[in-house]
């Protein structure tokens, strides 16, 4: 255990130090500085994964596969519960806009999105009053999938430690504050997916990055362990306990392997300037250089020094129309305005991410006072474009509804892969308990946490949706209250999992989740004017699809509960596959 601990420490901290060095070393590449910095960041995570694998291979005195099996087990266990939650909340975030629509039933379904130019002008008129004095505004315009405009602005005089930004959701038709219930909508799942909640944002993102790194290590080691990857293709041995769980875990991992690799690596690449800032700190010393790097990565323009000469903001709609002429009517997503009302105002109109497989920043930069086009950024360097493609692949915002469903299902399979991995840890060790009636505390802990993490999360997420319909509209801080219901339900599931016998707890929580999901459309029918039959009759596929998906998930959970209730560990379940036996002997 001491040696294992040392390996884990070397892998995490030594791996980070060396990959940070590698990211700085990339500055020596014969590339433009900004591209060398980005290349270094992108490469550093691969270096990191390599070092982690090496830390477990070196001087292990065991075969490579057994070392990798140890890495796979520990990386999977240590990060497993958080990874499961990240995977599931990330999966539903492919329908983030649709969930937000469902959670604001007051906003009518809209077949075609409004004209972005007119909306942008309306929003700017509102912000002129609401965000007066702010040095930076940013608005995300409605799309075919989202029927609201989201804005945020930087507070002019935020004290350190306070939120530096104010956010709001506006009605695209009026530009005023939305006449709908106060909710975070699908954004909660999306934000939880990579920064959790209650934690300071930077800590949350670091934690998510650490989990992603564990995931990368688990994928690489898993592929090495699973040498019979092609022989076992399509193999599932039913009713064999551990062997069946392993077959399911392998199948889920192998079929989705391109997705799992892409999603993990691109997740790291999305937040790489946070995780690997060293190359940029080394090479980008002046504000102008930093700005050059930012322009390669982000469509947000940072406010320059204001002139302190007042000048009214030129027409925003005219600027958006120029962008529409360039890219297409609906191909404008975000407008950022720096130093509004100042003679030095700048307006960036950024291209949407729905029509191209890249999120590299493409925008038109205008002089905010005169309305003149200053610069058109149509392309970025090769390294920045690579990162833009990774970003887009992760988000899956391009393509049509069919692609989103493919993303959703494959990502759900990834969630199931993490879940089966967690269950496997318990199933594998249950056989080896000296006294199955009184397992040691580590086994007990993992078993209970598994139940709370897997079945409990389904309950918590559904409870969040129930809270959206049931909390009184006048509840103070209503959006935050919905989230508190989410965590309260999760904690209650944990308490239940600890207090009840493990098998019973799992089955009961799965049935509870199934019931809560199955009844959600009924609750929706009772509390809104948009019941299922109405949605179908009016071709409102967001609402109808939501109800149908809930029923499908309810059926899935009921199926799991029935399988769990039916399963009795028989004598055949006791025969372990050879690989695992070797591995357990080696430990």
């Amino acid at each position: 255990m001491g040696l294992l601990g040392a390996r884990i420490v070397v892998a995490i901290f030594g791996g980070y130090a060396l990959s940070a060095l590698a990211s700085v070393a990339a500055l020596a590449l014969p590339l433009p500085t900004s591209q060398a910095v980005i290349t270094g960041m992108l490469a550093s995570f691969l270096v990191y994964a390599g070092i982690v694998v090496w830390a477990f291979l070196a001087r292990s005195g065991r075969g490579a596969r057994q070392s990798m099996s140890g890495l796979h087990t520990w990386a999977g266990l240590l990060a497993g519960w958080l990874l499961y939650a990240m995977f599931l909340t990330g999966t539903v975030s492919y329908f983030r806009d649709e969930i937000s629509q469902w959670m604001r039933p007051e906003i009518a379904h809209r077949q075609t999105p409004p004209d972005p130019a007119a909306v942008a002008q309306r929003i700017a008129d509102t912000l002129r009053i609401e965000a007066a004095g702010s040095p930076q505004w940013s608005m995300q315009l409605p799309t075919a999938r989202s029927n609201v405009a989201s804005v945020f602005w930087r507070l002019a005089d935020a004290a350190p430690g306070q939120d530096a930004y104010e956010t709001a959701t506006l009605d695209p038709d009026t530009g005023r504050k939305l006449a709908a219930r106060d909710t975070l909508g699908g954004d909660f799942f999306y934000l939880f997916h990579f920064q959790f909640y209650y934690l300071p944002i930077v800590w949350g993102r670091w934690l998510a990055g650490l989990c992603a790194m564990f995931m990368l290590a688990a994928i690489v080691s898993g592929v090495i362990v699973h040498k019979k990857i092609f022989v076992d293709f399509f193999t599932f041995r039913r009713g064999k306990g551990q062997r069946s769980w392993l077959d399911a875990h392998n199948a889920l991992a192998v079929f989705g392997l391109p997705f799992h690799l892409m999603i993990t690596y691109s997740g790291l690449a999305m937040l790489m300037t946070l995780y690997m800032p060293w190359g940029a700190m080394q090479a980008m010393k002046t504000p102008a250089q930093q700005q050059a790097l930012n322009a390669q990565l982000y469509e947000f323009i940072q406010p320059g020094a204001p002139s302190h000469v007042k000048a009214p903001l030129a027409r925003i709609d005219a600027m958006v129309r120029q962008a529409q002429a360039r890219w297409g009517r609906q191909d404008v997503l975000r407008v950022t305005i720096a130093n509004p009302g100042d003679a030095n105002a700048r307006v960036a109109v950024a291209r949407a991410d729905s029509a191209r497989v890249s999120m590299s920043p493409q925008y038109l930069l205008f002089d905010g006072a005169t309305g003149e086009l200053i610069q058109a950024q149509d392309r970025v360097g090769a390294a920045a474009e690579t990162r833009g493609v990774l970003y887009a692949l992760h988000m899956g915002r391009f393509g049509d509804a069919s692609l989103r469903w493919i993303y959703f299902i494959v990502s759900l399979a990834g969630t199931a892969m993490v879940g089966t991995g967690l269950v496997l840890w318990v199933v594998k060790r249950r056989r080896k308990l000296s006294d199955p009636e009184r397992p040691h505390w580590g086994f007990h802990l993992v078993e209970r946490l598994n139940i709370a993490a897997i079945a409990g999360l389904s309950i918590a997420m559904t409870a969040y949706l129930w809270a959206n319909r049931l909390l009184p509209l006048a509840t103070p801080h209503r959006a935050a209250a919905e989230v508190e219901v989410f965590f309260a339900a999760w904690c209650a599931a944990l308490v239940h999992a600890v207090l009840r016998p493990a098998r019973r707890a799992g089955i009961e929580l799965l049935w509870l989740a199934a019931a809560a999901m199955a009844l959600l459309p009924a609750l929706n029918a009772l509390t809104t004017r948009r019941p299922f039959w109405h949605s179908v009759a009016t071709h409102d596929w967001v609402y109808a699809g939501f109800d149908l998906t809930m029923w499908a998930f309810a059926a899935l959970h009921a199926m799991f509960a029935i399988c769990a209730a039916r399963h009795r560990p028989g004598p055949q379940a006791m025969r372990a596959p050879r690989v695992l036996e070797q591995e357990s002997q080696a430990r």
């Binding site: 399509f234 079929f255 997705f259 497989v357 890249s358 692949l393 391009f398 069919s402 299902i409 399979a413």
Partner: protein, 92 residues
């Protein structure tokens, strides 16, 4: 609709690949196929996967095509896997 067509092609290709394996031949046909038959199934499966890749890229361009293809292939492998599991289910 093109998605469904590409998905179907991927399913057929993966089904050929699965049926080229002795384990699944035993499960589906009750006996192993001849070596020549297995080989042609494997060839047909790979050819199907490559042809679908070409078709998807032709239909959607390189970048979108590759994404759709990866998704369809993952989904298709899962569908074939689930069908085999359902087929092997003892009829109780």
């Amino acid at each position: 609709m093109t998605v469904l067509a590409h998905l179907l092609l991927c399913v057929l290709a993966f089904a050929c690949l699965a049926l080229a394996m002795p384990r699944h031949q035993a499960a589906v046909f009750g006996k192993g196929l001849s070596r020549a038959a297995s080989r042609s199934l494997r060839g047909a499966g790979w050819a199907g996967l490559i042809a679908t890749l070409w078709l998807t890229i032709a239909a959607r361009g390189c970048s979108l095509g590759l994404v759709y293809y990866s998704g369809c292939a993952s989904l298709a492998a899962g569908i074939v896997f689930c069908s085999l599991v359902a087929h092997e289910r003892p009829s109780a």
